[in-house]
């Protein structure tokens, strides 16, 4: 290779003396195909745009959140993104102790005393009412389904997971109501359902998907990072025409191997909101007001149908578009723990 000019460059700090954005993951790590990864991408994009380095640390256990955040403060980070509700307490604690640092907390309201207000001024909670988007996906799936059965399952029974499943079920119910149909949801009945017990994509997760497929569903909606891969493999092995719905990012874009089976994806635009929050902090325009992603502000949404555009009845597509507007307008209500 070509040797660069001799001028000294010893790491990140020389490049950007003034702003240091940082991010800390939860136990999943930044390659989790889910919120850690998306937030990381958003923060990276903001850092690139600001022309600064992004400092990232991964956590391997619940007890590491506090020390990781404290260490980032000690490294003089100006903005710290903490990913996941599990980091909430540690983030609030660090924020209270370091009022000069901007904190961005993904997926939690930073309200650990449950008084309805966030607990530290300089924390910006990023929340996503994904039930709204999943509602659309549920409606779409119900309309698309020929077998009259659609399925969903989750990694662990966390609110950030079940909110997807809940919205999905409400969407299906809404379809049944409107159309007088009887499409069933397998894997979630509104209170309990099917979970793999973890976020690992392995045989256990695949078997849960297989069991759901065995019930004759023709649309399946796995919620929880990489476990969609298990569902994908289960679909492949079933040899049947089963559609997959992605969660978080647009699967069609992020994993091209799914392009033939992905009906749509329920989008949770953590990349976008994290990007914006970090960028605003870098530009000294940080607004710690809580952000709630909705269909209206496009913080959540439903992805393009891509390959399925001509497989899905255009009337149904229009209905979904209309439904989206109805939700935004408040004509149709989707309930979730965020909307209460």
């Amino acid at each position: 290779g070509q040797a660069p000019a001799e001028s000294g460059n010893d790491g990140g700090d020389a490049a950007s003396p003034d702003f240091l954005p940082c991010i800390v993951s939860d136990e999943g790590g930044f390659d989790d195909k889910s919120f850690n990864q998306l937030s990381f991408e958003g923060a990276t994009k903001a850092a690139d745009e600001l022309g600064v380095e992004l400092k990232d640390v991964q956590s391997n256990a619940e007890t590491e959140y506090g020390p990781n955040i404290t260490n980032l403060v000690d490294e003089n980070c100006n903005a710290i993104v903490s990913v996941g509700f599990a980091l909430s307490a540690a983030t609030v604690e660090a924020a209270t102790a370091n009022p000069d640092v901007d904190f961005i907390l993904v997926d939690d309201a930073a309200d650990n005393d449950f008084d309805g207000k966030k607990d530290a001024e300089n924390v910006k909670p990023l929340l996503y009412d994904t039930a709204q988007a999943a509602f659309l996906a549920g409606y779409l799936a119900a309309g698309y389904s020929e077998s009259g059965k659609v399925g969903t399952f989750g990694g662990r029974e966390f609110p950030t997971v079940t909110i997807f499943m809940d919205g999905f079920k409400q969407g299906v119910d809404h379809y049944n109501e409107v159309k007088g149909a009887d499409v069933q949801v397998v894997g979630w009945d509104g209170t309990t359902g099917s979970f793999t017990g973890g976020f690992e994509a392995n045989q256990d997760a695949k078997q849960v998907a297989v069991n759901i497929l065995d019930q004759g569903v023709d649309v399946i909606f796995p919620v929880g990072g990489p476990i969609y891969q298990s569902a994908q493999q289960a679909i492949k092995e079933s040899g049947k025409d089963i559609a997959l719905i992605g969660a978080d990012a647009d699967l069609f874009e992020t994993d091209s191997s799914t392009s033939d089976i992905v009906l749509t994806s329920v989008l949770k635009a953590m990349d976008l909101s994290t990007y914006e929050a970090v960028l605003s902090s870098g530009k000294d325009e940080f607004d710690p007001e809580a952000y709630v992603g909705t269909l209206e502000n496009e913080g959540v949404g439903i992805a393009d149908l891509h390959n399925f555009a001509d497989k899905v009845d255009s009337g149904l597509q229009d209905e979904v578009t209309q439904l989206r507007q109805d939700i935004i307008d408040g004509n149709v209500t989707v309930t979730s723990y965020l909307s209460e």
């Binding site: 399952f153 309990t192 493999q233 092995e237």
Partner: protein, 426 residues
């Protein structure tokens, strides 16, 4: 020998008297009462459909429909009757026969399924076929454990071998574009872990448990490191293996009920049948196995008849590593076409439990792993068809079943006599 002692030895076969054992009746009683509580406290409506056919079978097998509550109560009656009979037998100083245990377990299982799946359809083929698939990596891991321990080397590092196998299978299959390469690489990775285990424990006499425990940590560290540093940024080229998909065996797969369960699986499952048979045959029927077991039972005795103890142990654990590695390959060549960090999620420890539960026997260890797979998939199926129990309790099921099975059914088991002991020769 003198005439007297030889003839006496022939004539006086040891006298046997009956020993009262109340274990079976007590366990029967407990489970009968527990099970009777279910329909009593949570009565369920409707009928349960046991679907024996698989979607596209050649022969169609009719569904069996049973009324839930009635079936549950019939089971309770059967269980109670079995219990009473067992008490009667124990009282008259007779042992509980195996058939009674089988009847009891069958009644319990059918009754439970009828109750739990009320108003729904139980896909029996999916339930059992899935159990088999879930058990497959555990079986490979357990076989690896059995081979090693039979030669006197305790292998706590099954988890490491599974994980290393999954990791290298993903890379090799992706890079070479064929899952066969992944299979070979997984065996190699398992053997590599074994080799380290061997160097430390066989050559340098380090405590086998220490090395096993530490190897698990080491391999988790290394695979996570390389996953994050190398695989994640290069998913397309290094972490998108071609997989072995299900491959129905002609004719065999058409056998009603059994065919779709056993013979519509992926290649690695078929390989598993073969390896189980081979390990059993090898251990009990060949010179290799005889010598290996001798080394695990009494290495000094093996030494005195000219068997190279250390070399035998090395060969055994290398083979064990290859077998366990195959189990690892299942994760990335069958389950999902992607390696993820710590994706084995403790399966190696379950396999270790299967080794002990299976009393260091390849067939019994396989059965133990299958039991675990069955319990896991049972909870999966029940939660899918809608069970009233919170998901967390459903997820506990396989572990609870294992504890009950170990405590109730087998009890004490005997490890190979020299298991875990280094052979140090003057």
């Amino acid at each position: 020998m003198s005439v007297a002692s030889t003839t006496n030895a022939q004539i006086d076969a040891p006298r046997i008297v009956a020993v009262v054992s109340w274990k079976a009746p007590i366990i029967f009683g407990i489970f009968t009462v527990l099970f009777a509580l279910l329909p009593l406290l949570v009565p369920r409506e409707g009928a349960t459909t046991f679907r024996l056919a698989s979607g596209d079978a050649f022969f169609t097998v009719p569904d069996i429909v049973l009324p839930s509550t009635a079936t549950a109560w019939v089971s309770v009656v059967l269980l109670a009757a079995s219990t009473v009979f067992a008490v009667f037998l124990a009282n008259s100083r007779r042992r509980t026969p195996l058939w009674l245990v089988v009847v009891y377990v069958a009644a319990l299982l059918i009754g439970f399924l009828a109750w739990a799946a009320a108003g729904a359809t139980l896909p029996m083929v999916g339930l059992l076929g899935g159990a088999l698939a879930l058990a497959t990596p555990l079986i490979f891991g357990a076989l690896g454990g059995v081979i090693g321990e039979r030669a006197g080397v305790v292998n706590i590092a099954i988890e490491a071998q599974l994980l290393a196998g999954a990791f290298s299978a993903a890379i090799a299959a992706s890079a070479a574009g064929t899952p066969w390469a992944g299979l070979v690489a997984a065996m190699g990775a398992g053997m590599l872990v074994s080799l380290v285990l061997g160097i430390f424990t066989i050559t340098y006499f380090v405590d086998q448990v220490i090395v096993g425990v530490v190897l698990n940590v080491l391999v988790i560290g290394l695979t996570t490191f390389f996953f994050r540093q190398v695989l994640a940024p290069n998913t397309e080229t290094l972490n998108s293996p071609e997989t072995f998909t299900a491959f129905p065996i002609p004719i065999l797969s058409e056998i009603p009920v059994i065919g779709p369960i056993l013979f519509r699986q992926s290649f690695i499952v078929y390989l598993m049948y073969f390896v189980v048979a081979l390990v059993w045959f090898g251990l009990y029927r060949t010179r290799w196995g005889l010598r290996l077991r001798a080394v695990g039972e009494h290495p000094q005795a093996a030494d005195t008849v000219g068997i190279k103890v250390l070399a035998t142990r090395y060969r055994a654990i290398l083979l064990a590593g290859a077998v366990a590695g195959l189990g690892g390959a299942f994760y990335t060549l069958v389950a999902v076409p992607r390696f993820n960090q710590e994706m084995t999620a403790g399966a190696g420890f379950i396999a270790l439990a299967a080794v002990i539960f299976g009393q260091w026997d390849p067939i019994k260890a396989t059965l133990a792993a299958l039991l675990f797979g069955f319990a896991t998939n049972l909870q999966g199926v029940l939660s899918v068809i809608g069970s009233p129990v919170p998901s967390q309790f459903m997820l506990m099921l396989p572990y609870v079943v294992t504890i009950f099975a170990v405590a109730g059914l087998v009890g004490k088991s005997r490890a190979p006599a020299a298991d875990g002991k280094p052979y140090i020769k003057s």
